[in-house]
Amino acid sequence: MTEVEVNLSRPESRRPLSPHLEIYRPTLTMMMSIAHRITGVALYGGTLLLAWYLIAAASGPGAFAAASWFLNSIIGKFILFGFTWALFHHLLGGVRHIIWDAGYGLDDPEREWLAKATLIGGGALTVLVWIIALLRA
């Protein structure tokens, strides 16, 4: 962990800091918060794949064949499966955040229920989409 620079002459340095993550016992909602960030970062990088596909399709048959070959390979399918899961997990996590922003689902039974629904829903939607996709292929 990096030390935070504290310079008491600057007013911003006197702002109180939140307690650090390490002092808490791991909980499902905490893990889901971390997973939301990790899937977000994964989607951030994953957009490069979408850019490759679209630019290849806009460029011509040769470039499209290369992108298409990669996405249909085992590694390509594995990455796409991960991308699909990250997208659905992050999407449902975002819906959860919107529910919280409206002031609902923050208390004990609801927040645990929402965390489980996000986890199960993300997995289920990923499998469903892949079944549809593989049936079409």
């Binding site: 990096t2 006197r14 702002r15 679209l54 630019i55 048959p61």
Partner: protein
């Protein structure tokens, strides 16, 4: 849940220390793009699934459809702003050295802008073409 303005714990210690910069605007931008991305990502997945197994001509024909092109452009626009703002809050949380933070924020903005322009250009070229050339 109550929404009464109860005195916030520690508020006295933060008063007069200045705002936390652009936090509120970022939170709002995140909220708006997130709401937009709910239907847009579902529509994007639908388009992606319809491209499975398509050859060059088939994919070009699909992406030349006006509805598909419009959905794709909206998805790209909302997505790029969402990812830039999201990465910004991650940088704000984890990069503490002011120098590294500045560079990380610049890199984040340049990456998002470049990706956004590239994706929009490709989607427009595909959308405005008459399918397979």
């Amino acid at each position: 849940m109550t929404h009464d303005a109860a005195p916030v714990r520690g508020a006295a210690r933060t008063r007069s220390l200045g705002s936390a910069k652009s936090g509120a605007a970022d939170a709002w931008r995140m909220h708006v793009t997130a709401v937009a991305l709910i239907p847009l990502s579902l529509a994007f997945v639908w388009i992606a699934v319809s491209l499975v197994g398509k050859d060059y001509a088939g994919a070009r024909a699909e992406l030349a459809q006006p509805c598909q092109a419009i959905v794709l452009l909206l998805f790209i626009l909302a997505g790029v702003f969402h990812m830039r703002t999201g990465m910004r809050s991650i940088i704000d949380d984890y990069v503490h050295s002011p120098h590294a933070k500045e560079w990380a924020l610049v890199a984040n903005s340049l990456f998002s802008a470049t990706l956004g322009v590239a994706l929009i250009f490709a989607a427009l070229k595909l959308g405005l073409s008459a399918g397979s050339p």
